[in-house]
């Protein structure tokens, strides 16, 4: 490869990276309205929105890098959608407790987490695939997506959702592994 071709290759590489980043951002941006859902039903949505912005950033990064990271995005979003929606629906339909003041809120988050965990176990890539990177990515994205809904109930809500996710996903993944 001569010098002119090497310079052209460097430019092409930059074009490739910027093109991928633009494409990833355009696919991740539609998640922003989801991240803004808590504004509709939460008196203090700042932390939920911060989680939503982090979710968009992580999804953009995963889609940009591609390969194993990309394969975890869709299952993560599907699994995280459950613990995102259940607290939002619960809050919107009239159960308006203050942050962490009653027992129903963490219970909602745990139940939503378990449901999301089962979805994660069903849809996530196999744990051994690509050294487990897609599964880790899917879990991270599911956790972040769920946090957007569960932050409305504070740290207790998020912790409950994470415990629920693990409790829901572990048995399903174990069954999938046992079946080969």
């Amino acid at each position: 490869m001569d010098v002119a071709d090497a310079i052209l290759a460097a430019r092409a590489r930059r074009a490739y990276e910027t093109g991928r980043l633009g494409s990833a951002a355009s696919r991740a941006l539609p998640l922003l309205p989801l991240a803004c859902l808590p504004i509709l039903c939460c008196p203090d949505p700042a932390r939920s929105i911060a989680c939503g912005v982090a979710l968009v950033a992580v999804v953009t990064c995963c889609l940009w890098r591609g390969e194993a990271l990309r394969r975890g995005v869709r299952p993560g979003l599907i699994a995280g959608g459950v613990p995102l929606m259940i607290p939002v629906v619960a809050q919107a339909t009239g159960h308006l407790c203050g942050i962490g003041r009653c027992l129903i809120d963490p219970t909602i988050c745990i139940v939503a987490g378990v449901a999301g965990g089962i979805a994660l176990g069903v849809f996530a890539p196999r744990p051994r695939e690509a050294h487990g990177i897609p599964l880790v990515t899917a879990s991270l994205i599911a956790g972040l997506t769920g946090s957007v809904g569960c932050w409305m109930y504070g740290l207790v809500g998020v912790a409950g959702m994470v415990v629920g996710l693990l409790a829901g996903a572990a048995p399903v993944l174990a069954v999938r592994r046992a079946r080969g």
Binding site: L8, T18, G19, E67
Partner: protein
């Protein structure tokens, strides 16, 4: 290309080395030597910029050549536009610099009268379009629309000229 679309960076150099020569040849076949390399580079950069959108069910080379063909068309259109913009000024300069001989004047008069007759045979909109075009002006329409009207009017003018049997 499929691996590159999935994000496998190790596929970059093989794809670059496979795509660059055919794109260069393709551009050289359709454009002049000075312009071909620039357009081939533009096409190559566009191919890599859009690599993430590549559909694995399609042929990678056909896809890349399609992008190159689009770049070539765009370059040709730009060149034509530049020529159109430069033409009136160039014509005036030539007219100022050179005085026509009596023979040339007579030939020009003949040509003008023939042209006037042919213009008379055209539809009034076409004749008006050509008149504006010859003065370097444009009707109150988009540049692309006007260009198309000029092309259409010129085609009709050529047809009218040809059917007269004078050319």
């Amino acid at each position: 290309m499929e691996r590159l679309a999935d994000g496998d960076r190790s596929a970059f150099h093989p794809v670059f080395e496979l795509l660059w020569p055919p794109l260069r040849r393709f551009a050289a076949r359709h454009l002049g030597p000075g312009e071909a390399d620039d357009i081939a580079q533009e096409a190559l950069l566009r191919v890599f910029r859009r690599a993430a959108e590549f559909d694995p069910s399609r042929s990678a080379l056909a896809w890349a050549l399609g992008i190159a063909a689009y770049e070539i068309r765009t370059a040709r259109r730009k060149r034509q536009r530049r020529r159109e913009e430069a033409a009136p000024a160039g014509t005036l300069a030539t007219a100022r610099d050179q005085k026509p001989t009596p023979e040339e004047t007579a030939m020009q008069d003949d040509m003008e009268s023939m042209l006037r007759e042919s213009l008379g045979a055209l539809r009034p909109e076409d004749a008006e379009t050509l008149r504006l075009y010859s003065r370097g002006e444009r009707a109150h329409v988009a540049a692309a629309t006007f260009r198309k009207r000029v092309e259409r009017a010129l085609t009709r003018l050529r047809a009218a000229w040809g059917t007269d049997g004078r050319r």
